[in-house]
Symmetry: C2
Amino acid sequence: MKIGVLGTGVVGETIGAKLVALGHEVKISGRAPVNDKAIAWAAKVGAKASYGTFAEAAAFAELVFNCTKGEGAVDAVRAAREGLSGKILVDVTNPLDFSAGFPPTLFVSGTDSLGERIQREVPEAKVVKALNTINCNVMVDPARLGGASDVFVSGNDAEAKATVSRFLCEQFGWKEVVDLGDITTARGTESYLPLWIRLMSALKTADFNVKLVRS
Amino acid sequence: MKIGVLGTGVVGETIGAKLVALGHEVKISGRAPVNDKAIAWAAKVGAKASYGTFAEAAAFAELVFNCTKGEGAVDAVRAAREGLSGKILVDVTNPLDFSAGFPPTLFVSGTDSLGERIQREVPEAKVVKALNTINCNVMVDPARLGGASDVFVSGNDAEAKATVSRFLCEQFGWKEVVDLGDITTARGTESYLPLWIRLMSALKTADFNVKLVRS
Protein backbone atom coordinates (compact mmCIF):
# COMPACT_ATOMS: atom_id res chain seq x y z
CA MET A 1 0.00 0.00 0.00
CA LYS A 2 1.18 3.57 -0.68
CA ILE A 3 1.21 5.50 2.57
CA GLY A 4 2.03 9.15 3.22
CA VAL A 5 3.40 10.41 6.50
CA LEU A 6 3.19 14.12 7.32
CA GLY A 7 6.05 15.08 9.65
CA THR A 8 9.68 14.05 9.87
CA GLY A 9 10.04 13.96 13.65
CA VAL A 10 10.45 10.84 15.76
CA VAL A 11 6.75 9.89 15.48
CA GLY A 12 6.72 10.14 11.67
CA GLU A 13 10.02 8.30 11.32
CA THR A 14 8.98 5.52 13.73
CA ILE A 15 5.65 4.95 11.99
CA GLY A 16 7.31 5.31 8.57
CA ALA A 17 10.03 2.75 9.37
CA LYS A 18 7.45 0.28 10.70
CA LEU A 19 5.31 0.65 7.58
CA VAL A 20 8.32 0.07 5.30
CA ALA A 21 9.28 -2.99 7.37
CA LEU A 22 5.73 -4.26 6.76
CA GLY A 23 6.26 -3.93 3.00
CA HIS A 24 4.44 -0.66 2.32
CA GLU A 25 5.71 2.17 0.14
CA VAL A 26 6.09 5.21 2.37
CA LYS A 27 6.64 8.88 1.58
CA ILE A 28 7.48 10.92 4.64
CA SER A 29 7.14 14.63 4.22
CA GLY A 30 7.88 18.08 5.51
CA ARG A 31 7.26 21.68 4.58
CA ALA A 32 10.48 22.06 2.53
CA PRO A 33 10.97 20.56 -0.96
CA VAL A 34 14.37 19.32 0.24
CA ASN A 35 15.08 18.07 3.77
CA ASP A 36 18.53 16.48 3.86
CA LYS A 37 18.00 14.77 7.21
CA ALA A 38 14.72 13.18 6.14
CA ILE A 39 16.11 12.23 2.73
CA ALA A 40 19.05 10.49 4.46
CA TRP A 41 16.61 8.75 6.82
CA ALA A 42 14.52 7.48 3.86
CA ALA A 43 17.65 6.22 2.08
CA LYS A 44 18.65 4.33 5.21
CA VAL A 45 15.21 2.78 5.73
CA GLY A 46 15.22 1.29 2.24
CA ALA A 47 14.06 1.56 -1.34
CA LYS A 48 10.39 1.71 -0.39
CA ALA A 49 10.91 4.91 1.65
CA SER A 50 11.09 8.35 0.08
CA TYR A 51 10.80 11.99 1.04
CA GLY A 52 8.62 14.74 -0.42
CA THR A 53 6.61 17.79 0.47
CA PHE A 54 3.34 17.50 2.42
CA ALA A 55 1.46 17.93 -0.88
CA GLU A 56 3.54 15.28 -2.64
CA ALA A 57 3.11 12.74 0.17
CA ALA A 58 -0.65 13.23 0.21
CA ALA A 59 -0.93 13.00 -3.59
CA PHE A 60 1.21 9.82 -3.59
CA ALA A 61 -0.67 7.99 -0.87
CA GLU A 62 -3.78 5.84 -0.45
CA LEU A 63 -3.65 6.42 3.33
CA VAL A 64 -2.02 9.30 5.22
CA PHE A 65 -0.74 9.61 8.81
CA ASN A 66 -0.46 13.08 10.30
CA CYS A 67 2.54 12.92 12.63
CA THR A 68 3.49 16.60 12.67
CA LYS A 69 4.08 18.60 15.82
CA GLY A 70 0.75 19.95 17.05
CA GLU A 71 1.68 23.58 16.38
CA GLY A 72 2.28 22.82 12.68
CA ALA A 73 -0.50 20.30 12.16
CA VAL A 74 -3.14 22.57 10.60
CA ASP A 75 -0.60 24.20 8.25
CA ALA A 76 0.61 20.77 7.15
CA VAL A 77 -2.84 19.45 6.23
CA ARG A 78 -3.67 22.75 4.51
CA ALA A 79 -0.59 22.30 2.31
CA ALA A 80 -1.63 18.68 1.63
CA ARG A 81 -5.33 19.43 1.15
CA GLU A 82 -5.71 18.64 -2.56
CA GLY A 83 -4.01 15.26 -2.24
CA LEU A 84 -6.00 14.35 0.87
CA SER A 85 -9.37 14.66 -0.86
CA GLY A 86 -11.46 11.52 -0.35
CA LYS A 87 -8.68 9.81 1.62
CA ILE A 88 -8.36 8.70 5.22
CA LEU A 89 -6.12 10.93 7.33
CA VAL A 90 -5.04 9.26 10.58
CA ASP A 91 -4.41 12.19 12.89
CA VAL A 92 -1.81 11.31 15.53
CA THR A 93 -1.13 14.90 16.62
CA ASN A 94 -1.60 16.54 20.01
CA PRO A 95 -2.06 20.27 20.71
CA LEU A 96 0.93 20.49 23.04
CA ASP A 97 2.18 23.97 23.88
CA PHE A 98 5.76 23.91 25.18
CA SER A 99 6.14 27.71 25.04
CA ALA A 100 6.30 27.92 28.85
CA GLY A 101 8.48 24.80 29.18
CA PHE A 102 7.66 21.43 30.71
CA PRO A 103 5.04 20.21 31.38
CA PRO A 104 3.30 21.50 28.26
CA THR A 105 -0.27 22.78 28.25
CA LEU A 106 -2.84 22.35 25.45
CA PHE A 107 -3.27 25.16 22.91
CA VAL A 108 -6.78 23.98 22.14
CA SER A 109 -9.17 22.25 24.56
CA GLY A 110 -12.65 22.53 26.00
CA THR A 111 -15.18 22.92 23.20
CA ASP A 112 -12.72 22.26 20.35
CA SER A 113 -9.78 20.00 19.56
CA LEU A 114 -6.91 19.78 17.12
CA GLY A 115 -8.62 16.82 15.48
CA GLU A 116 -11.69 18.97 14.78
CA ARG A 117 -9.58 21.88 13.50
CA ILE A 118 -7.89 19.49 11.09
CA GLN A 119 -11.20 18.01 9.93
CA ARG A 120 -12.52 21.55 9.33
CA GLU A 121 -9.36 22.42 7.38
CA VAL A 122 -9.72 19.40 5.06
CA PRO A 123 -13.46 18.66 4.92
CA GLU A 124 -12.95 16.38 1.88
CA ALA A 125 -10.70 14.05 3.90
CA LYS A 126 -11.90 11.47 6.40
CA VAL A 127 -10.04 12.36 9.57
CA VAL A 128 -9.64 9.55 12.12
CA LYS A 129 -7.97 10.62 15.36
CA ALA A 130 -5.94 7.69 16.66
CA LEU A 131 -2.75 6.67 18.46
CA ASN A 132 -2.27 10.11 20.08
CA THR A 133 -2.52 8.65 23.60
CA ILE A 134 0.59 6.48 23.24
CA ASN A 135 4.33 6.84 22.72
CA CYS A 136 5.36 6.08 19.12
CA ASN A 137 7.35 2.97 20.02
CA VAL A 138 4.19 1.50 21.56
CA MET A 139 1.98 2.73 18.68
CA VAL A 140 3.71 0.39 16.21
CA ASP A 141 4.47 -2.45 18.67
CA PRO A 142 1.85 -2.74 21.42
CA ALA A 143 3.22 -6.20 22.32
CA ARG A 144 6.31 -4.54 23.82
CA LEU A 145 4.16 -3.84 26.89
CA GLY A 146 3.54 -6.52 29.50
CA GLY A 147 -0.08 -7.08 28.50
CA ALA A 148 -2.86 -5.97 26.16
CA SER A 149 -3.85 -2.31 26.28
CA ASP A 150 -6.30 -0.06 24.46
CA VAL A 151 -6.18 2.43 21.62
CA PHE A 152 -8.97 4.82 20.69
CA VAL A 153 -10.43 6.18 17.43
CA SER A 154 -12.56 9.30 16.88
CA GLY A 155 -14.04 10.36 13.56
CA ASN A 156 -17.15 11.27 11.61
CA ASP A 157 -16.89 8.47 9.02
CA ALA A 158 -17.77 5.04 10.41
CA GLU A 159 -16.24 3.17 7.48
CA ALA A 160 -12.97 5.10 7.77
CA LYS A 161 -12.81 4.32 11.50
CA ALA A 162 -13.42 0.62 10.78
CA THR A 163 -10.66 0.66 8.13
CA VAL A 164 -8.19 2.34 10.49
CA SER A 165 -9.13 -0.02 13.34
CA ARG A 166 -8.49 -3.05 11.09
CA PHE A 167 -5.20 -1.52 9.94
CA LEU A 168 -4.03 -0.95 13.53
CA CYS A 169 -4.83 -4.55 14.45
CA GLU A 170 -3.53 -6.28 11.32
CA GLN A 171 -0.44 -4.14 10.74
CA PHE A 172 0.64 -2.89 14.18
CA GLY A 173 -0.73 -5.75 16.30
CA TRP A 174 -3.39 -3.99 18.36
CA LYS A 175 -5.94 -6.36 19.89
CA GLU A 176 -8.70 -3.90 20.67
CA VAL A 177 -9.64 -0.50 19.25
CA VAL A 178 -12.26 1.51 21.12
CA ASP A 179 -14.49 3.70 18.94
CA LEU A 180 -15.22 6.81 21.03
CA GLY A 181 -17.60 8.42 18.53
CA ASP A 182 -17.42 11.37 16.18
CA ILE A 183 -14.45 13.70 15.78
CA THR A 184 -15.54 15.83 18.76
CA THR A 185 -14.45 12.92 20.97
CA ALA A 186 -10.87 13.83 20.04
CA ARG A 187 -11.34 16.42 22.82
CA GLY A 188 -11.24 13.45 25.18
CA THR A 189 -8.05 11.80 23.97
CA GLU A 190 -6.22 15.11 23.53
CA SER A 191 -7.27 16.20 27.02
CA TYR A 192 -5.72 12.99 28.40
CA LEU A 193 -2.23 14.19 27.44
CA PRO A 194 -1.60 16.16 30.66
CA LEU A 195 -2.24 12.95 32.60
CA TRP A 196 -0.06 10.93 30.19
CA ILE A 197 2.80 13.38 30.78
CA ARG A 198 2.46 13.14 34.58
CA LEU A 199 2.34 9.36 34.32
CA MET A 200 5.51 9.36 32.20
CA SER A 201 7.26 11.40 34.93
CA ALA A 202 5.97 9.19 37.76
CA LEU A 203 6.71 5.89 35.98
CA LYS A 204 10.01 7.21 34.57
CA THR A 205 9.24 5.70 31.18
CA ALA A 206 7.16 6.44 28.09
CA ASP A 207 6.69 2.70 27.60
CA PHE A 208 3.21 2.37 29.05
CA ASN A 209 -0.43 2.56 28.12
CA VAL A 210 -3.81 2.09 29.74
CA LYS A 211 -6.18 -0.83 29.54
CA LEU A 212 -9.87 -0.38 30.17
CA VAL A 213 -11.18 -2.60 32.96
CA ARG A 214 -14.96 -3.00 33.02
CA SER A 215 -17.47 -4.71 35.28
CA MET B 1 -12.08 6.68 63.03
CA LYS B 2 -14.00 9.97 62.86
CA ILE B 3 -14.38 10.99 59.22
CA GLY B 4 -15.92 14.11 57.73
CA VAL B 5 -17.46 14.21 54.27
CA LEU B 6 -18.01 17.56 52.55
CA GLY B 7 -20.94 17.28 50.16
CA THR B 8 -24.29 15.50 50.30
CA GLY B 9 -24.52 14.40 46.66
CA VAL B 10 -24.21 10.85 45.38
CA VAL B 11 -20.40 10.80 45.79
CA GLY B 12 -20.51 11.98 49.41
CA GLU B 13 -23.37 9.63 50.30
CA THR B 14 -21.70 6.64 48.62
CA ILE B 15 -18.36 7.22 50.36
CA GLY B 16 -20.16 8.04 53.64
CA ALA B 17 -22.24 4.86 53.56
CA LYS B 18 -19.18 2.74 52.82
CA LEU B 19 -17.24 4.32 55.69
CA VAL B 20 -20.11 3.70 58.12
CA ALA B 21 -20.36 0.09 56.90
CA LEU B 22 -16.65 -0.22 57.69
CA GLY B 23 -17.32 0.91 61.26
CA HIS B 24 -16.24 4.55 61.08
CA GLU B 25 -18.14 7.50 62.54
CA VAL B 26 -19.09 9.74 59.63
CA LYS B 27 -20.43 13.29 59.53
CA ILE B 28 -21.60 14.29 56.07
CA SER B 29 -22.06 17.98 55.56
CA GLY B 30 -23.49 20.77 53.49
CA ARG B 31 -23.66 24.53 53.49
CA ALA B 32 -26.93 24.71 55.46
CA PRO B 33 -27.19 24.04 59.24
CA VAL B 34 -30.21 21.87 58.48
CA ASN B 35 -30.58 19.66 55.38
CA ASP B 36 -33.59 17.41 55.81
CA LYS B 37 -32.65 15.08 52.94
CA ALA B 38 -29.11 14.53 54.28
CA ILE B 39 -30.36 14.18 57.87
CA ALA B 40 -32.82 11.50 56.72
CA TRP B 41 -30.02 9.78 54.79
CA ALA B 42 -27.77 9.74 57.88
CA ALA B 43 -30.60 8.34 60.03
CA LYS B 44 -31.11 5.56 57.49
CA VAL B 45 -27.41 4.68 57.25
CA GLY B 46 -27.18 4.16 61.01
CA ALA B 47 -26.18 5.55 64.37
CA LYS B 48 -22.61 6.21 63.29
CA ALA B 49 -23.75 8.62 60.58
CA SER B 50 -24.68 12.22 61.23
CA TYR B 51 -25.14 15.49 59.40
CA GLY B 52 -23.63 18.90 60.08
CA THR B 53 -22.29 22.00 58.38
CA PHE B 54 -18.99 21.94 56.49
CA ALA B 55 -17.32 23.56 59.52
CA GLU B 56 -18.85 21.05 61.95
CA ALA B 57 -17.82 18.04 59.85
CA ALA B 58 -14.22 19.28 59.57
CA ALA B 59 -14.01 20.05 63.31
CA PHE B 60 -15.44 16.61 64.14
CA ALA B 61 -13.14 14.61 61.90
CA GLU B 62 -9.65 13.12 61.93
CA LEU B 63 -9.80 12.70 58.13
CA VAL B 64 -11.95 14.62 55.64
CA PHE B 65 -13.18 13.74 52.13
CA ASN B 66 -14.14 16.61 49.83
CA CYS B 67 -16.99 15.26 47.70
CA THR B 68 -18.68 18.52 46.77
CA LYS B 69 -19.61 19.52 43.24
CA GLY B 70 -16.59 21.19 41.63
CA GLU B 71 -18.29 24.59 41.42
CA GLY B 72 -18.82 24.65 45.18
CA ALA B 73 -15.56 22.98 46.23
CA VAL B 74 -13.52 26.07 47.12
CA ASP B 75 -16.40 27.67 49.07
CA ALA B 76 -16.89 24.43 51.01
CA VAL B 77 -13.26 24.13 52.13
CA ARG B 78 -13.19 27.86 52.96
CA ALA B 79 -16.17 27.33 55.29
CA ALA B 80 -14.40 24.31 56.81
CA ARG B 81 -10.96 25.90 56.98
CA GLU B 82 -10.52 26.15 60.75
CA GLY B 83 -11.45 22.51 61.35
CA LEU B 84 -9.24 21.31 58.50
CA SER B 85 -6.06 22.73 60.01
CA GLY B 86 -3.34 20.07 60.22
CA LYS B 87 -5.65 17.39 58.80
CA ILE B 88 -5.62 15.38 55.59
CA LEU B 89 -8.24 16.49 53.07
CA VAL B 90 -8.87 13.89 50.36
CA ASP B 91 -10.03 15.96 47.41
CA VAL B 92 -12.32 13.93 45.15
CA THR B 93 -13.71 16.92 43.22
CA ASN B 94 -13.51 17.73 39.52
CA PRO B 95 -13.84 21.18 37.92
CA LEU B 96 -16.75 20.18 35.68
CA ASP B 97 -18.67 22.99 34.05
CA PHE B 98 -22.11 21.85 32.89
CA SER B 99 -23.31 25.41 32.11
CA ALA B 100 -23.42 24.63 28.36
CA GLY B 101 -24.85 21.14 28.87
CA PHE B 102 -23.31 17.75 28.19
CA PRO B 103 -20.47 16.98 27.79
CA PRO B 104 -19.12 19.36 30.44
CA THR B 105 -15.90 21.32 30.04
CA LEU B 106 -13.39 22.14 32.79
CA PHE B 107 -13.63 25.50 34.55
CA VAL B 108 -9.95 25.33 35.49
CA SER B 109 -7.20 23.59 33.51
CA GLY B 110 -3.81 24.23 31.94
CA THR B 111 -1.49 25.83 34.51
CA ASP B 112 -3.83 25.40 37.48
CA SER B 113 -6.24 22.84 38.88
CA LEU B 114 -9.07 22.63 41.38
CA GLY B 115 -6.80 20.58 43.66
CA GLU B 116 -4.30 23.45 43.72
CA ARG B 117 -7.00 26.06 44.30
CA ILE B 118 -8.21 24.04 47.27
CA GLN B 119 -4.69 23.62 48.68
CA ARG B 120 -4.16 27.39 48.34
CA GLU B 121 -7.49 28.04 50.10
CA VAL B 122 -6.57 25.83 53.09
CA PRO B 123 -2.76 25.95 53.31
CA GLU B 124 -2.84 24.44 56.82
CA ALA B 125 -4.51 21.27 55.50
CA LYS B 126 -2.72 18.46 53.68
CA VAL B 127 -4.65 18.12 50.42
CA VAL B 128 -4.38 14.76 48.66
CA LYS B 129 -6.17 14.60 45.32
CA ALA B 130 -7.48 11.09 44.83
CA LEU B 131 -10.36 9.01 43.41
CA ASN B 132 -11.49 11.77 41.02
CA THR B 133 -10.85 9.56 37.96
CA ILE B 134 -13.45 6.97 38.94
CA ASN B 135 -17.19 6.66 39.46
CA CYS B 136 -18.12 6.60 43.15
CA ASN B 137 -19.41 3.02 43.10
CA VAL B 138 -15.98 1.91 41.88
CA MET B 139 -14.14 4.24 44.32
CA VAL B 140 -15.40 2.28 47.32
CA ASP B 141 -15.50 -1.16 45.67
CA PRO B 142 -12.81 -1.57 43.00
CA ALA B 143 -13.37 -5.35 43.03
CA ARG B 144 -16.71 -4.81 41.25
CA LEU B 145 -14.66 -4.45 38.04
CA GLY B 146 -13.43 -7.50 36.15
CA GLY B 147 -9.81 -7.02 37.18
CA ALA B 148 -7.39 -4.82 39.07
CA SER B 149 -7.18 -1.17 38.03
CA ASP B 150 -5.30 1.92 39.17
CA VAL B 151 -6.02 4.95 41.31
CA PHE B 152 -3.82 8.03 41.56
CA VAL B 153 -2.77 10.43 44.33
CA SER B 154 -1.36 13.96 44.03
CA GLY B 155 -0.21 16.10 46.94
CA ASN B 156 2.59 18.09 48.52
CA ASP B 157 2.84 16.03 51.73
CA ALA B 158 4.48 12.61 51.20
CA GLU B 159 3.29 11.25 54.55
CA ALA B 160 -0.30 12.32 53.88
CA LYS B 161 -0.19 10.62 50.46
CA ALA B 162 1.15 7.43 52.05
CA THR B 163 -1.62 7.54 54.68
CA VAL B 164 -4.32 8.03 52.04
CA SER B 165 -2.85 5.28 49.86
CA ARG B 166 -2.89 2.84 52.79
CA PHE B 167 -6.45 3.89 53.63
CA LEU B 168 -7.62 3.28 50.04
CA CYS B 169 -6.05 -0.18 50.03
CA GLU B 170 -7.05 -1.31 53.51
CA GLN B 171 -10.53 0.22 53.63
CA PHE B 172 -11.76 0.32 50.03
CA GLY B 173 -9.77 -2.62 48.63
CA TRP B 174 -7.49 -0.90 46.13
CA LYS B 175 -4.46 -2.99 45.16
CA GLU B 176 -2.28 -0.28 43.73
CA VAL B 177 -2.09 3.48 44.23
CA VAL B 178 0.10 5.47 41.85
CA ASP B 179 1.76 8.57 43.36
CA LEU B 180 1.87 11.13 40.55
CA GLY B 181 3.80 13.77 42.51
CA ASP B 182 2.94 17.12 44.07
CA ILE B 183 -0.47 18.78 43.97
CA THR B 184 0.22 20.28 40.51
CA THR B 185 -0.17 16.76 39.12
CA ALA B 186 -3.88 17.11 39.90
CA ARG B 187 -3.90 18.97 36.56
CA GLY B 188 -3.30 15.55 35.00
CA THR B 189 -6.11 13.62 36.66
CA GLU B 190 -8.62 16.48 36.33
CA SER B 191 -7.72 16.87 32.65
CA TYR B 192 -8.52 13.17 32.14
CA LEU B 193 -12.20 13.81 32.87
CA PRO B 194 -13.15 14.75 29.29
CA LEU B 195 -11.79 11.34 28.18
CA TRP B 196 -13.54 9.58 31.07
CA ILE B 197 -16.84 11.14 29.98
CA ARG B 198 -16.36 10.05 26.35
CA LEU B 199 -15.47 6.55 27.54
CA MET B 200 -18.62 6.44 29.66
CA SER B 201 -20.67 7.32 26.57
CA ALA B 202 -18.88 4.79 24.35
CA LEU B 203 -18.95 1.96 26.90
CA LYS B 204 -22.51 2.86 28.01
CA THR B 205 -21.52 2.44 31.67
CA ALA B 206 -19.73 4.35 34.42
CA ASP B 207 -18.50 1.04 35.81
CA PHE B 208 -14.99 1.08 34.38
CA ASN B 209 -11.50 2.25 35.15
CA VAL B 210 -8.05 2.12 33.59
CA LYS B 211 -5.12 -0.10 34.45
CA LEU B 212 -1.60 0.95 33.62
CA VAL B 213 0.23 -1.55 31.44
CA ARG B 214 4.00 -1.17 31.40
CA SER B 215 6.87 -2.80 29.56
